[in-house]
Subunit: 146 residues, 2 copies
DNA sequence: GTATTTCCTATCGGTAAACCATGATATAAT
DNA sequence: ATTATATCATGGTTTACCGATAGGAAATAC
């Protein structure tokens, strides 16, 4: 299950993606629109900023915007930043691989084989969907990826 | 990520699945073979018993065995018992559905649409793989489901 | 009846999730 | 400059779960 944090991040990013232009949005505005806890959202956007998904300006007239076009930001990127590995087991993660402590042999482990397929299926969906696609889908348009 | 508990459960069940016959295996034996914490495994098998995946007999000569043929026990069943919903969000879970607190409209929610596909992909893999298939795959044989 | 083995309840330390409070720092308008 | 506005940084709180263990009750075989 996704953390609340991750869901909030996605909600915020989708709002920014719909904004399209370079206009900055306030944390307060985003929080209000989707009624998310403001302080928590602040921390989330900060983390997204550090990871290069959004950019910010502070002080009066400040706010947040996407750091790159919405079709270059995938759900997979967001989930990995917020919740870590997509894989159900560390030993099948490609971005956060770590050997299983208690498994004798990785190559013959049946659990691993199954979970490998699961992780691939998940990654296929999440890495294959961008913010742009999601908002397009939301508007009822069937756009293909570019 | 799967809990440790769930992984232990799968390891134990695969051992029981390989046992094939009606022979009972001791918790201690299973724990020793895969070096799992014995007391913890005890609790796990108990839970699997309550959920009808294994059967037990106690006292001298007791132990555990699968409650039904290994091709009728899927990874999906085990994971749901141990870790709950497969779905990344409760609102896309079919077995543990629960409405999203903070989302205005379920039908237009873009996040939901994406996560729905993820949950389906995961369920397809996990519900489509039985213990029997896993051990067969482990032996190098490419058996199809029956 | 005694040894064995599962069953049951309770507990415990550690860790992470979900927030909130407070203040520092940068920016823009006055 | 001053002030109002925002993000940035740090730290704390509360709650809940995860992994694991302890101690004993209940059932079964010999
Ligand atoms: S090697 Fe990772 S589960 Fe067996
Ligand atoms: S309705 Fe569940 S995420 Fe929006």
């Amino acid at each position: 299950m996704l953390s609340q944090k991750c869901k909030y991040a996605l909600q915020a990013l989708l709002i920014l993606a719909r904004q399209a232009g370079d206009e900055l949005l306030l944390v307060s505005d985003i929080a209000e629109r989707e009624n998310l806890p403001k302080k928590f959202l602040e921390a989330i956007l900060l983390e997204l900023n550090r990871n290069g998904l959004v950019r910010s300006r502070r002080g009066r007239g400040g706010g947040y915007a996407l750091a790159k076009p919405a079709d270059l930001i995938t759900f997979g990127q967001v989930v990995r930043i917020m919740d870590g590995p997509l894989a159900p087991l560390s030993c099948v993660s490609v971005n956060y691989y770590r050997k299983c402590d208690d498994c004798r042999d990785e190559l013959t482990c049946e659990i691993r084989k199954v979970m490998r397929r699961v992780r691939d299926a998940v990654a296929h969906e999440l890495d294959g969907t961008s913010l742009a696609q999601a908002v397009a889908e939301g508007r009822g348009r069937a756009l293909l990826e570019g």
